[in-house]
């Protein structure tokens, strides 16, 4: 496994009107790692993801990505440098078809300047789009309007849209929430194998410990805005604090 540090946070803190949502978060993530972020509701997991991806500006502390300070970066700047994300509630274009969603994502990631004025339906992009839809197992739904899809399908599309920008690090916020028991392992198998293939570093927020145990290299457990455990899954899930505050 590569050992280059890709993400580092130092004393990261976020408070809302005096209420501390995240405090003293110090992490170091190496390239290619797959990390599970666990914690009860309100523990600060999503706040952490939002700070890394520019949705929220930290109150104090710093975030370094590939050695560069990216604290307070804007979401689109985060995307440009390779920090991408998916959302707890799928953020897709509901009135468009699955393929139109992905075509927009692909054209924005591959084109710039005047090339954005070229027709979106070019053959090369379309073929590439079909390939990704196939990889994520949503090719059969490509012409369906997204609002008619199941949560699981929307999640897959949401993740596929984040991945087409070739992220160096991908943060997935509860990729299996709202997804049926039958679908969740299927989704994670598809997503994790695709991301491993591309060597993408992954941090994902998850409540399902079966998923965590099965897919991650390392677990970060959050409680009241702080990391109370940072260890491999077998060790973390047996940790006393994790059992008391996270697993209940």
């Amino acid at each position: 496994m590569a050992t280059t540090e890709i993400l580092k946070t130092t004393n990261l803190q976020k408070s809302f009107s005096g209420i501390i949502a995240a405090e003293d978060i110090n992490i170091s993530v190496k390239e290619g790692e797959i990390i599970g972020i666990i914690g009860a509701n309100g523990a600060g997991k999503t706040v952490f993801v939002n700070m890394i991806t520019g949705y929220l500006k930290p109150t104090s502390g710093s975030i370094e990505f590939n050695g560069k300070n990216i604290t307070g970066i804007k979401p689109r700047e985060a995307t440009h440098i390779g920090v991408c994300r998916s959302f707890q509630v799928s953020q897709v274009f509901m009135s468009m078809t699955v393929k139109q969603n992905l075509m927009i994502a692909m054209s924005l990631s591959k084109k710039s300047g005047s090339a954005l004025l070229d027709p979106i339906n070019d053959d090369i992009l379309s073929k590439e789009c079909d390939k990704i839809l196939k990889q994520y197992n949503i090719i059969k739904q490509k012409d369906l309007v997204v609002s008619t899809l199941s949560q699981g399908m929307r999640k897959l599309l949401d993740i596929a849209m984040a991945v087409v920008g070739n992220p160096k690090i991908l943060l997935l916020d509860e990729p299996t929430s709202g997804v049926s028991v039958e679908e969740k392992f299927g989704i994670m198998d598809i997503v994790i194998s695709a991301l491993k293939e591309s060597g993408t570093t992954v941090l994902f927020v998850e409540h399902d410990m079966e998923i965590v145990e099965r897919y991650v290299d390392r677990v970060m457990a959050f409680y009241q805005g702080q990391i109370i455990c940072d260890a491999p899954p077998k060790q973390a899930l047996k940790d006393k604090k994790v059992i008391q505050y996270v697993l209940g």
Partner: protein, 318 residues
């Protein structure tokens, strides 16, 4: 950007439509009817601009700002620079409105929904106030526009009609090319989900700004053409809030289904207004209001939805 655009059905039908309207207006119909076609085609440009904004859920209640600015730019260029050439006139109108849209766009792109609508209205009323007070621009009497020329020759009414048709075709081609592009597809994407657009790496504000400038250019072009067609500009008929209201009215009436819809809607509106004024001079506004109500109740997708029900290319939304 324009690759293969003339092969697209929307453009072919659009060219055919404009061709028929111009033919009817210049050879077949009486002058009063012909005028309705000419004004409808011209105002349709401003409605097209509104439609492009509307597809992002941005409704401007003040688009007469650009419509009037384009018209006054033509009048000022004539008064101070002696410009009567129709090509120069339309270019000046588009450039002036586009520049104003570019400047105001920095403010407006940060607002949505009712705030966007009312701020647009506020800017248009500021311009109205300035024009109504500016004596060197004719104050409330406005300014007259001399007949347009082309290559030094007077264009005449028919010539101007052909020119308007030409400008409308160019605008249809441009609007279609824009809407089918990646940038144009952001129109609907932004309406659906701004957060996702930002996380795909594109600035929502920038996309709206581009759209706003395009919309302003189209409205300015419409104003320039109307100034040339009417031979007169004044604040009440070009910039007043009721002019903006009419443009919104026609956009709702036309529907957002196709880039041709604004022109169909604008021509329809000219006829409704003419007949309503002819047959009920004391209650013509009531007839217009009733027409809009009927369309909202029975054709919520606007007049264009009627065409979609009967035409063979209803799937193509550009």
């Amino acid at each position: 950007m324009f690759k293969g655009i003339l092969k697209e059905q929307t453009i072919q039908v659009g060219i055919g439509f404009v061709f028929i309207v111009v033919l009817l207006g210049t050879f077949i119909l009486p002058e009063w009817m012909s005028n309705n076609f000419m004004y409808g085609l011209s105002r349709g440009l401003a409605v097209l601009g509104l439609m492009i904004l509307w597809r992002t859920n941005l409704v401007s209640f003040g688009h007469a700002l650009y419509y009037g600015f384009g018209a006054y730019a033509v009048a000022i260029a004539q008064k101070y620079l002696g410009v009567t050439d129709v090509f120069l006139r339309i270019l000046i109108a588009i450039a002036a409105a586009g520049l104003l849209g570019f400047v105001l766009g920095f403010i407006l792109r940060r607002y949505r929904e009712i705030f966007f609508a009312m701020l647009s209205l506020a800017f248009s009323m500021v311009l109205y106030g300035l024009l109504a007070k500016a004596e060197f621009l004719g104050s409330t009497d406005g300014m007259s526009i001399s007949p347009s020329t082309m290559f030094g020759f007077e264009l005449g009414r028919f010539g101007l009609f052909y020119f308007i048709g030409f400008v409308v075709i160019l605008s249809l081609i441009f609007a279609h090319a824009y809407l089918r592009s990646s940038l144009g597809h952001l129109t609907t994407a932004i309406m659906d989900n701004e957060i996702r657009v930002e996380y795909l790496g594109y600035s929502v504000e920038k996309a709206i700004h581009i759209k706003y400038v395009i919309s302003a250019c189209l409205a300015g072009g419409a104003g320039g053409l109307m100034a040339a067609a009417l031979g007169q500009v004044d604040p009440d008929s070009m910039v007043l809030w009721s002019v903006s209201g009419e443009l919104v009215f026609v956009t709702i009436m036309a529907g957002l289904g196709n880039i041709l819809a604004p022109f169909v809607g604008a021509i329809f509106f000219e006829f409704i207004r003419t007949y309503a004024y002819e047959f009920a001079p004391q209650a013509w506004q009531m007839i217009i209001g009733g027409t809009l109500l009927a369309i909202i109740f029975f054709l919520p997708g606007g007049l264009w939805s009627l065409f979609q029900k009967i035409n063979p290319f209803k799937k193509e939304k550009k």
